[in-house]
Subunit: 233 residues, 2 copies
Amino acid sequence: MCDKAALIDVLTSAIHGGLYKPNDKLPSENELADQFKVPRMVVRKAYEQLQEQGLVYARQGKGSYVQESKLRIPLILTGDVSFTEKMKELQYELITKNVFCEEISYNQKIFQALGIDKHDVVYKIGRLRMLDNCPIAIHISYLPQSIFREIETDGHQITSIFQYYRSSGFEKFTSTESSLSIIFPSVYERNLLNCSSLIPLLQLEAGCIDVKSGKVLEYSRILYRSDRFTYVI
Amino acid sequence: MCDKAALIDVLTSAIHGGLYKPNDKLPSENELADQFKVPRMVVRKAYEQLQEQGLVYARQGKGSYVQESKLRIPLILTGDVSFTEKMKELQYELITKNVFCEEISYNQKIFQALGIDKHDVVYKIGRLRMLDNCPIAIHISYLPQSIFREIETDGHQITSIFQYYRSSGFEKFTSTESSLSIIFPSVYERNLLNCSSLIPLLQLEAGCIDVKSGKVLEYSRILYRSDRFTYVI
DNA sequence: TTAAGATATCTTGTTGCCAACCTGCTGAAT
DNA sequence: ATTCAGCAGGTTGGCAACAAGATATCTTAA
């Protein structure tokens, strides 16, 4: 028992095991340093990492405390149901905020997924999903202007993409094979999601296809806070 | 541009964007500190975190360098196919190593999932999945002794659970609803998976049911290194 | 007795210095 | 000319001393 990682193990299992409850005061850095016979810097780094993971918070001059853990929402990842409908089913009050709408420069991956030419115009629309005023996901949709002519002006109002599809004359959609990966938030994403830097984000990438025409309507990228969900697949 | 998080953003996008290639030398701590007008400690912390995320390595007296990124394997998460078969399909050579087999003490969640009594005996069997001698996942199976009588002695040899099912007289299985979450590795898991501390693990939990009898055969917990896969669902 | 101020002490946060390490240069000895 | 020890300068790593904030206690004056 001598390094930072071991200390983090001990502290996390102590917290998760219920030895320390939310807002309980944790041992001071010097106490732990003496107890584990390590320099204070090691304890400090451990506490810092736990802070960034959202398990602990610290007050200068007072001490380190256990952060309240927010409840986790079960989220069904599969199926073609929209995010809004998923949440309604679970009886949560969900607010969607449109946060940006802007033209993007060429990006191979996105343009290829949309099946369009390098010189086409693509708009990026960002929406923030909030639950009880707490942001839980960023939904980024890449839409080609060739399909959605008025996207530049419409884009800022969109909160439900599926509704926008319907109002644009599309009725039945299907999702392409979606890929899942884990990333850490950028500063911008951290600010939107109001989370600390070591909260992994679950990134879901998928395309949306109009069943009738077979055209790719959208390429979407959803970033879920991994600490607010348990995912069911 | 002034804090650790912003620096990490800049460095990660510089690395991912290809400005620095694998094994390239990165700017020294003092250089970056001067350039961004921040104390060296801030640059230091940024580099430390990037090390733990596996993007960077450092050599005392020499400098910090870009870590080679390992290739990502596409992994199909859905379906009832076994891990071994999934990998075979992708033409990878997969080796499974049995790492432990031991009785566990009572745990509400596991015993409930197995549908058994508090006083029943449950064995925990750990297998390590290796690809080109590189560990990529830990597969932990919880098996009740009431179903698998000889598990205490058999347990150390098992590398394929499905094969063991068949040799125990079970033929058709189905999976219960599986849940997905993101965790950080403990020291023990870090050692098995040979990964640094800030590699998130994708944890899949599910039960396995014998179709004929309807009995729960197994509760399994699989820990995938999130940096070695892209998941397809 | 009470209230306000000073003080001591404990906490986390920051900084700067020195150690450990690597590399390349210089210069003397062979 | 060659070799090698020594030195200088740059790198990451570690630590101790200091700063800043919070709180309780003691002191003193009204």
